[in-house]
Amino acid sequence: MTQATKPSDHSSLQIRQNTATGTIALLVFLAAGVLAACLPLLGNTLAVQWAREFLMLLALASLWNLLAGYAGLVSVGQQAFVGFGAYAFLHFSLSADKSIGQDWTQIDPITGLGKTITLADSFPAWMFVGPLHPLVSVLLAMVLGGLLAVPLSWIVFRLRGPYFAIGTWVVAVVVQLVVGQLGWLGKGTGTAISLDYAFRFGDINAVHNAFQAINPDTKKVFAREAYRFWMMLAATMLILLGILVVIRSRIGLALAAIRDNEAAASALGVNPTRLKLLLFVAVGAATALVGAIGAFDESGLLPVKNFSLLEYTAFIIFIVVIGGIGSFEGPIIGSVIYFVADKVLTGLVGEYFYIVLGVIGILVMLFAPKGLWGLVQERTGFTLFPVRRHVIFGNKEQDA
């Protein structure tokens, strides 16, 4: 409290952010990551798939929460980055000599088939640098996602408040329509990344061999699924830690200042627009990364699926709102609840699931706007990942 601070007090003034619970929570978090990494050793495909789906929800929810809950940027267009990341990944898996069909006007006398048309026949060969290693591809997708966010921000940052929300939505539709027009990426009718692609690379083969050493029946698909899961796990852990670092840093403090009073914050030297832009770009990049990892999959890419508003934004918003918007813990709780509900309830209530979800979302917004985690905190004052700073005057501690 400011009125108690005289200049001479500063020698005895400390600022502390950590708590014992916080340290323990962080260790538990890291331990859970290590433990989760061992999951594929069980050899259960469904478990690995479910775990990866959960991680994707968690990562997307935490990222959206950072945008909307901390920076006040209510985006309804994050699916643009998910889909863009997926298609960027697809692009980097392509090589110029990939066959895209047959020319039946030139029939090969021996095989009786039309002449194979390659990508290089229809598009400039320099466009295709692949096939790149999946790890390289997802990182490139991340960089491109960040780059995409820059021009998009020029457009959406011209809109304020609720219009920003619809603006991001329009922009996402445009990105989807444009990607859907790109011939070499399947032109809106969908395309798949072949299993062979993954096994061009030594380390994925090594993973497969290692699994076969445990269980000789291990399929290639499983090795790829495990590899993808590890990528998603690593990405999610890094994203969560990154978010924690951001909201505990001066940036987090500045965001809180902007949220409380934008004019006052800018008067104190915080540049709200630049800070929000930075966050928009960073979240765009991370979202594209998650989307790219999600695309490393045999079932194929389709614009309507990979740019799904429902899947990558609507449900994500519900997760954050139900869990608790504007807190680090909220999206984690929301993801767990949503994931369990999705797997259990969808079987029970089928299509009513979405309606139930919508109704719950509305009820939470009306009666517990800080979500379930907010309720827990109100009752107990408990926090797992401390973000607040505690000012210590001599030996008296106070919140600040």
Partner: protein
């Protein structure tokens, strides 16, 4: 592609086609947008379920037609008659949703109303899906859907003229309501200064509920015109919302006639893109036109609002 573009640009009749069809679809967009514009103007609320309510209105029409058929009557629908049923229904629905739910979300924080209307959108889409199945539906409006007027080299559908006429009437009507009636004064007063408006004895919650009701009547009109004009399925709401939103922004927030102009700009851009580059470029041309205008004139073509 260039050849196709030139063949369109250099042919006055094809340009006239673009103008005629662009204006008629633009009028439809303006109808979509009028309700959105109205409630944003009065309570700074963006209803993300707006498009879904339009589709709901079309389905109400479909249900009426189905009931007529089930009763052994000819299922052809007189749109005006259908409106007499759909409009009060939607007015009541809008009033109830505003009073019961949305009024409790309005405040300094923009998040609650956005999230609640977004949830409403998901509920409406899936509710329509459950009741009516995902099949594409259309409404038999009898002669209206096929009639045309010969203008020499082509037919102009009567439906297109009706849509333009309806859009003009709706926007003119809203202008009248807004600037010539006591209720309109309340609407504007609440929008200008909600605190002082209360001191005039105005019940803000009631005014908001009434304005949502009025917006829903416009939605009913838009839904009827949309339902009669073509086929629809439960998931078309969001794209209606986006067209409406683009029309509002292009025209300039707060100006109803601007919204009409915005809708027409959007319609003409789509028609031009579709004819010059191919049908698959129709949607994207509209969006790109919107983005260009937003970049060049962020406050729209006819800025009016003070904030």
């Amino acid at each position: 592609m260039i050849d196709q573009l030139l063949s369109v640009v250099l042919d006055p009749l094809r340009l006239l086609d673009i103008l005629i069809d662009g204006i008629s679809s633009g009028a439809q967009y303006a109808l979509f947008a009028a309700g959105l514009s109205l409630i944003f103007g009065i309570m700074r609320l963006v209803n993300l379920a707006h498009g879904d309510f339009i589709i709901l209105a079309a389905y109400i029409l479909f249900a009426i037609s189905w009931v007529l058929g089930a009763l052994g009557l000819p299922p052809e629908l007189n749109p005006l008659l259908a409106l007499l049923i759909a409009a009060p229904l939607l007015f009541a629905l809008g009033y109830a949703v505003q009073r019961g739910v949305l009024n409790n979300t309005l405040g300094k924080d923009i998040l609650p109303p956005l999230l609640v209307t977004f949830a409403l959108s998901v509920i409406l889409q899936n509710g329509l899906f459950l009741i009516f199945s995902p099949d594409t539906r259309s409404i038999d409006s009898g002669a209206l859907s096929t009639a045309g007027i010969n203008i020499g080299y082509r037919q102009v559908p009567v439906l297109a003229l009706t849509t333009v006429g309806t859009a003009l009437a709706v926007i003119g009507g809203l202008q009248y309501l807004f600037f010539r009636t006591a209720l309109g004064r309340d609407f504007r007063a609440v929008s200008d200064d909600p605190e002082i408006a209360q001191l005039m004895g105005i019940n803000r919650r009631q005014v908001f509920a009434l304005s949502m009701g009025v917006a829903m009547v416009v939605v009913a009109i838009a839904g009827v015109m949309f339902g009669v004009a073509g086929s629809f399925d439960p998931y078309l709401g969001p794209s209606r919302l986006l067209s409406a939103f683009e029309a509002v922004i292009i025209g300039g927030v707060g100006s109803l006639w601007g919204t009409l102009a915005g809708g027409i700009v959007l319609g003409i851009s789509e028609q031009f893109g579709s004819r010059a580059f191919g049908e698959e470029f129709k949607q994207i041309s509209g969006h790109v036109a919107f983005l260009i205008i937003l970049l060049l004139r962020p406050r729209g073509l006819f800025p009016r609002d003070k904030d």
